[in-house]
């Protein structure tokens, strides 16, 4: 075995004296760090390794309870027996005598939808009964503060008491990730959050995300029935919004984000069902106009109802699968309003109207790109990746304004249609 061979070498390092059990010789904090990469059941099971390990699991600062750990490898779902073991395990693990959520730095609970209710109970229980001092229980409805920095939950029913606890009972929480959770709460408010991820969550009532500290916001694949969802997060620097328009019928209202650096907005828009979010496209851009790097995907041609925002800091613009068949008006607006632009990429955009849908709603303005006052003096690189579309018109337009883009290099790449 490897370690036997190495043991014979003379080494003048930290633990040159150790022959053999390097793992158990590590200080508790490093063993806990190793445990933080393991799932909960295996962490508990280390208690039988030797007396050194007997109680180490009880003081882990990071806990990851995951139904996947109980599932037969390769199986798609956990079977009934495995689910029962999982429930029993978690029921026992989360009693305050064993592990109290309130004392953890990081907690992850990943269940499947059939455990939504049990998991909701584990969370409620953790809010209500976790006590730092065994034997002392908070009175009535009062909750126990959690010292958590990071909380990741999957497929758990969450209600207003949870949201309230996030807002007032988690004074250290920086990182909150909710995946596939039915959110029955009305708002997320936090004075400490830095990173918020809502992925595939659904809600009929969520109407506000408010945080003065939030730096990163990811909303992906969610369904918010009511709305609008109002986001008040003035210091966000990274925003990813990847949603289907028809899942946000009430739209999204972003209050202005002066500190924004990087934005990706991906809209899925394959139905004609009316949605407020479809109309919000323009306003979303307005709120993030201080952005440096902007990636828009599947944007429709925009009908301007008010002045196009000035993107004074915008250096990198990527338009992907966007509809530019409005005689390049939208593109023209960007070029006209982005004096700092250095790199422009158009990937698989739509340049000309689909002959099958000739009834374009966008009125063609006589003004063409060449007549626009393009001021991208710093534009160095324009990359156009296109499929079977008429790219000549765009080429012509770019050439016609070449005088305003002294340093621009244009690269055309044709890719095959799928």
């Amino acid at each position: 075995m490897e370690f036997e061979a190495k043991g014979k070498r003379t080494r003048a390092s930290i633990s040159s004296f150790t022959v053999g059990d390097r793992l158990s010789s590590l200080p508790d904090c490093l063993i806990h760090h190793i445990m933080s990469f393991m799932k909960a059941r295996q962490v508990v099971q280390t208690c039988v390794l030797s007396t050194r390990w007997k109680h180490l699991w009880r003081s882990v600062p990071s806990l990851n309870i995951d139904l996947e750990e109980f599932k037969t490898e390769g199986a798609y779902h956990a079977n009934v027996e495995e689910r029962k073991k999982f429930e029993d395990f978690t029921d026992h693990l989360l009693i305050p005598n064993n592990i109290s959520i309130a004392l953890l730095d990081k907690f992850q609970l990943h269940v499947h939808h059939y455990h939504r209710e049990e998991a909701a109970r584990w969370i409620r229980h953790g809010i209500k009964y976790s006590t730092q001092e065994p034997g002392i229980r908070p009175q009535g409805l009062s909750s126990t503060p959690w010292r958590l920095k990071r909380l990741h939950l999957s497929n758990i029913n969450l209600d207003d008491s949870f949201a309230k606890h996030i807002s007032s009972g988690c004074q250290n929480l920086e990182d909150l990730e909710l995946k596939g959770c039915p959110c029955h709460f009305h708002e997320i408010t936090s004075h400490t959050l830095k990173n918020l991820i809502l992925k595939d969550c659904s809600s009929n009532v969520l109407s506000a995300i408010t945080s003065q500290t939030l730096k990163r916001l990811v909303i992906s694949g969610c369904y918010i029935d009511d709305g609008p969802l109002v986001v008040m997060a003035p210091v966000v620097s990274y925003l990813l919004l990847s949603v289907a328009i028809y899942n946000f019928k009430g739209g999204i209202v972003l209050n202005e984000i002066p500190s924004i650096v990087k934005v990706s907005i991906h809209l899925v828009n394959n139905s004609d069902c009316p949605s407020k979010l479809g109309d919000d496209q323009f306003n979303l851009l307005d709120s993030v106009s201080k952005v440096t790097s902007l990636h828009l995907s599947a944007y429709k041609a925009m009908v301007l109802t008010e002045e196009f925002p000035q993107f004074e800091n915008l250096k990198t613009l990527l338009l992907e699968k966007c509809d530019l068949s409005d005689n390049f008006q939208t593109l023209g607006h960007f070029l006209q309003s982005s004096p700092s632009l250095e790199k422009l990429t158009l990937r698989n955009c739509k340049f000309s109207k689909d002959p099958k849908k000739k009834k374009g709603k966008v009125k063609l303005n006589k003004q063409s790109l060449s007549q626009l006052d393009v001021r991208c003096k710093n534009l160095k690189q324009t990359e156009i990746i296109y499929r079977n579309d008429d790219v000549h018109k765009l080429e012509e337009l770019l050439l016609s304004i070449a005088g305003s883009l002294p340093e621009n290099n244009i690269k055309l790449t044709k890719v095959d249609s799928p």
């Binding site: 370690f3 003048a12 390097r22 760090h33 190793i34 099971q45």
Partner: protein, 186 residues
Amino acid sequence: MEVDKGKGEAEETRKVAEADRDTVTLKSSDGKLFEVSKEAAARLSTVLAGMIAGGSIDDNGTDLKQIGSEALENVVDYCNKHANSIPSAALISSSISFNTAPFKEPEEWERKFVDRLSHDALFDLVEAANFLGMERLLDVTCHKISEMMKGKSPDQIREVFNIKNDYTKEELEEIRQELAWAFYDD
């Protein structure tokens, strides 16, 4: 930057380093000298960053008495590889990623880096990373150890890590009964 194993070579490099001051010289417990980019050292190690900022870096080799030459060589190697991998890292972060969790899975080169280490060298590196406050390196090495434990029975783990079972049969039985909810499969 090349990692110098021989002392003579290291000293030559050091002279160059002193001239442009882009590097710092680190001295292992057994007196070997290693060069590392000042920028990478400051970025990857909170302890070295503090020493650089506080001016306590010795041009003749900053003494790291806790760290043997083999571990220090790996630390320096990691720093250099990390510095070289920045373009690819920037590329990855610019693409859409939902992996915003604090711990990002080891990259391919990081995996290879820890996979080639011997058992002892891996643990030496864990301790060195801990001593130098190198968060990412500590994550990558501890993650590797967790993977060595993953999916293994207690007996298998004891074998891999040479852990001596000092429980009596009765004690073990008692634990398994008390924590039966965690030991269904056995």
